[in-house]
């Protein structure tokens, strides 16, 4: 890949697209400098950004109509942060971790706690994985989502003890049903005080301190010993490296995953070096084309076009395509490519592309390129510097310049809906 293609690849995969003109600026900076800015923003002098919801204080006990307004506002702040946040890979990883833990706002049903959970993931997105798991284990939203808050020594609830091992760290085959029970017992005792701001508290009377044997380790009896025992297991680095690699790169070879896992393990489960190894492997040609999920697709398309669309409509488009931020369908996280290629998602993408093209400003470079039939320029502005494929160019040529209320709108709509734009 040439530098321009590398920067565009990083923007599509690791970040959230680029504003018009930004591809020129970053290409001048060079791939290596951009990679530093993404994976080591502190050293690269990229300013830290505040929480997407720093200035937002939702009513913890809203009336029904206010609840919907607050949820919409929070979602829009999040999406806007993806576009404008200075630390694009931190946000890219925050989104990955959200899919990994898959905590659903519909289950938590308390906006401040849900936002607290998401901010926990964002603040630690490039941090240490062990610390992230420790924080998530006693996070109010998680304690409610997987029932830790109602799990007691006399009657442990296995939900979190299982998913901690199956989904969040080790993967199936690396633990037994006895390990599930042992973790569940050792983690008992936490409550969420819903009437006191969803404060998390440890209540020793609800905890069973009997030492448990977890993954062959004796004496496990509390959060710290559970987290350390699980995170010391050698399966963690391979599983997390593999999951991160497939999220950002598509399909990669097991030997590549092993190399990334070594980087992760050797850095005591620091996430930033793993993230850098993943992106470097991608730049070196590892991986496969990826079908974009609706959230990154819409954020990137909105940025490239500069389209102005009401928050409510953006969320409706996402819902129709099948992915709403904060609402993963189950504890397995958001579905994969096949869901985004379903008939309903495909139809919704076509309909959304029309709306976005219509709302693209007159002076947007994408609109003039579409009106003028400059297909290579249009593709480059949409972060595909290699150009569109033959089929899409031929199809674009068949759309009249005058299709739409303004010149180029119909062509832009088709370009946005094209299969080329769905592939990152």
């Amino acid at each position: 890949m040439d530098t321009r293609s590398e920067i565009a690849w990083l923007a599509r995969r690791a970040g959230w697209g680029l504003d018009p003109g930004e591809l020129d600026d970053l290409s001048t900076l060079g791939t290596s400098a951009v990679l530093d800015r993404l994976t080591d923003p502190d050293s690269a002098g990229v300013s830290a950004s505040a929480s997407p919801w720093a200035d937002f204080e939702p009513d913890p006990d809203p009336a029904n109509d206010q609840r919907a307004r607050q949820n919409l506002a929070a979602t829009s702040m999040w999406l806007s942060h993806f576009s404008t946040g200075s630390r694009q890979f931190e946000n890219g990883l925050a989104w990955f971790w959200h899919g990994h833990f898959a905590v659903s706002a519909a289950v938590v049903n308390h906006l401040p706690a849900m936002l607290g959970h998401l901010e926990l993931l964002r603040a630690r997105a490039l941090g240490n994985f062990r610390e992230m798991i420790r924080a998530v284990t006693v996070d109010a939203a998680m304690l409610v989502f997987l029932d830790g808050a109602s799990s007691t020594g006399s009657s442990p609830n296995e939900n979190y003890g299982r998913e901690l091992q199956e989904l969040y760290t080790l993967g199936i085959g690396n633990y037994t049903e006895d390990d599930v029970r042992a973790a569940a017992v050792a983690l008992t005792g936490y409550v969420v005080r819903r009437r006191a701001g969803w404060d998390v508290r440890f209540v020793s009377q609800r905890h069973d301190p009997t030492p448990q044997t977890l993954l062959g380790v004796d004496g496990v009896r509390d959060v710290d010993t559970v987290v350390d025992t699980v995170l010391d297991h050698p399966a963690v680095s391979t599983r997390i490296a593999g999951k991160m690699a497939s999220h950002f790169l598509g399909s990669v070879s097991p030997s590549t995953v092993d190399e990334m896992a070594s980087v992760f393990a050797d850095s005591s489960l620091e996430i930033a070096p793993l993230g850098r190894a993943v992106l470097e492997a991608g730049l070196a040609g590892e991986g496969t084309p990826l079908v974009m999920a609706p959230v990154p697709w819409i954020v990137q398309v909105m940025r490239s076009t500069g389209a102005v669309v009401e928050d409510r409509m953006v969320v409706a488009m996402l819902r129709n395509m099948g992915q709403v931020p904060g609402l993963p369908p189950n504890v397995g996280g958001y579905p994969g490519a096949s869901a985004w290629l379903s008939s309903s998602s495909t139809a919704a993408r076509f309909s959304s592309a029309g709306v976005i093209a219509t709302r693209t400003p007159d002076d947007a470079p994408v609109l003039t390129a579409a009106a003028d039939g400059r297909w290579d320029d249009l593709a480059d502005l949409l972060l595909r510097p290699g150009g569109f494929g033959r089929s899409t160019i031929d199809a674009l040529r068949d759309v009249s310049r005058q299709s739409g209320r303004r010149p180029g709108v119909g062509r832009l709509a088709l370009a946005l809906a094209s299969p080329d734009m769905l592939i990152a």
Partner: protein
């Protein structure tokens, strides 16, 4: 470039369907229902395809096998079978001091040792007609308590190994004549991995509201849709891009042919989103476009806490949806063609936990509904005396019910399931 009009004409002559309008169950996604789905291929319907299924029925059979429709309802999350079909046993009462269903609320099934959860009362009409049956103790051998491993086993019909295909996808493959017809198999909000075949295709619809092709004012809709179709050919050599291309013509085709089923005038009126999905399924059958398999997904059955209220609401939706579906196919004259089957990845622990819920378990109960089933009895076995790690054991292989359903559809059953499984007699001979 193939024009859209030509495309439609070739696709089966159902052009001119009224303009698309919304459906009733789009909010399902919002409500976090969709089970994550495995790979589902979609592709173009070639211009030469004929959608009318062949009807090579044996002369004595009143309903040709090719006209039969199997509807599989996936209760994602692991439905608690013990509180769904409640046994009249002391063990049950002892294990469920808090979340046991009170005796006075139960819908007793005469001549059996079981009662229905009160939310399933709308289905008792079919039980009493002999058009509903239950199979107890169903599961996968060496049952995993992982949602994902268990779901994979149920949807693929393969246990102990991974499979690229679903059990119904293999049936579609085995019975396909000529080019693939994506409308033979339709997934509504879930269950689509069951339909994945090697060469057959399925139509996957996750949201009714999304299921239309809209263009803003000032844009020639037909022209833009034609151009959208044109982006799909010729196919790229890259497999991922080609998959994205293939989705386009099958979507345009499905939107046109299925539009009638999504007319909102009364779909799911007054009912839940789930009821809307069942209504759409019944309408698809009435469209007569050769659909033979439909999956419907509903989620939320992972009731680790507050199970009484949560499961009641879910079973309300399920029963109202299933009853509405049966009433509509009866009114449309299609009842004899239809069988409805439930599945769920596992049952739940016999003993309740401290959260007013139940943890992941093993064997469970599933239902079959329709005039072809052998009613008035509970098949299989629930054994609460010999629990396995606190769970009711799996005594009936899931593939035993699959085998009967595939026999009913016309097989070849053993080829599809990779072996011969015992028939429970859940379908009337």
């Amino acid at each position: 470039m193939l024009s859209r009009r030509k495309f439609l004409g070739a696709a089966g002559g159902v052009a001119g369907v009224a303009a698309a309008s919304g459906g009733a169950w789009a909010a399902l996604l919002r409500d976090s229902v969709e089970q994550s789905s495995g790979p589902t291929p979609t592709t173009t319907r070639p211009a030469t395809t004929t959608t009318v299924p062949s009807t090579t029925e044996p002369p004595s059979d009143p309903v040709p096998q090719a006209d039969r429709v199997l509807v599989v309802v996936q209760m994602a999350g692991g439905n608690d079978g013990l509180n769904t079909l409640v046994p009249s046993s002391g063990t049950y009462r002892d294990a469920r001091p808090i979340i046991g269903i009170p005796e006075e609320d139960l819908v007793v099934l005469s001549k059996t040792d079981f009662s229905l959860h009160p939310s399933l009362a709308p289905l008792s009409r079919w039980w009493n007609l002999g058009s509903m049956t239950a199979v107890e103790g169903v599961g996968i051998p060496f049952q995993s308590r992982s949602h994902f491993r268990s779901t994979d086993a149920w949807l693929s019909g393969v246990s102990g190994a991974t499979s690229r295909t679903g059990w119904l996808g293999r049936w579609l493959d085995a019975t396909q004549e000529g080019d693939p017809d994506p409308l033979r198999a339709i997934s509504l909000v879930g269950g689509s991995p069951m339909l994945v075949g090697e060469k057959s295709l399925a139509t996957v619809i996750q949201s009714a509201e999304a299921f239309r092709l809209r263009t803003p004012e000032g844009i020639d809709t037909e022209g833009l849709i034609s151009a959208f179709l044109a982006t799909a050919s010729p196919l790229a050599t890259d497999l991922t891009l080609a998959a994205a291309q293939r989705a386009i013509p099958s979507t345009v085709d499905a939107v046109d042919l299925l539009t009638g089923a999504f007319d909102v005038t009364d779909a799911g009126a007054g009912g839940s989103d789930t009821a809307g999905a069942f209504e759409v399924a019944a309408r698809i059958i009435d469209l007569g476009i050769g659909t033979q398999v439909i999956t419907i997904g509903l989620g939320g059955f992972d009731t680790h806490s507050n199970q009484l209220a949560r499961q009641s609401a879910l079973l309300d939706d399920l029963a109202i949806g299933m009853a509405g579906f049966m009433e509509k196919v009866e009114a449309d004259g299609h009842a004899d063609r239809v069988t409805l089957m439930t599945i769920s990845e596992f049952g739940r622990r016999v003993g309740e936990n401290g959260s007013g819920g139940t943890d992941h378990g093993q064997g469970s109960v599933q239902f079959l509904l329709g005039p072809s089933v052998a009613g008035w009895e509970v098949h299989g076995e629930l054994d609460l005396k010999n629990l396995v790690e606190g769970d009711a054991p799996t005594l009936v292989d899931e593939r035993s019910i699959y085998a009967e359903a595939l026999d009913w559809l016309g097989g070849p059953t053993d080829d599809i399931l990779g072996g011969t499984y015992e028939r429970m007699g859940a379908f009337a001979a």
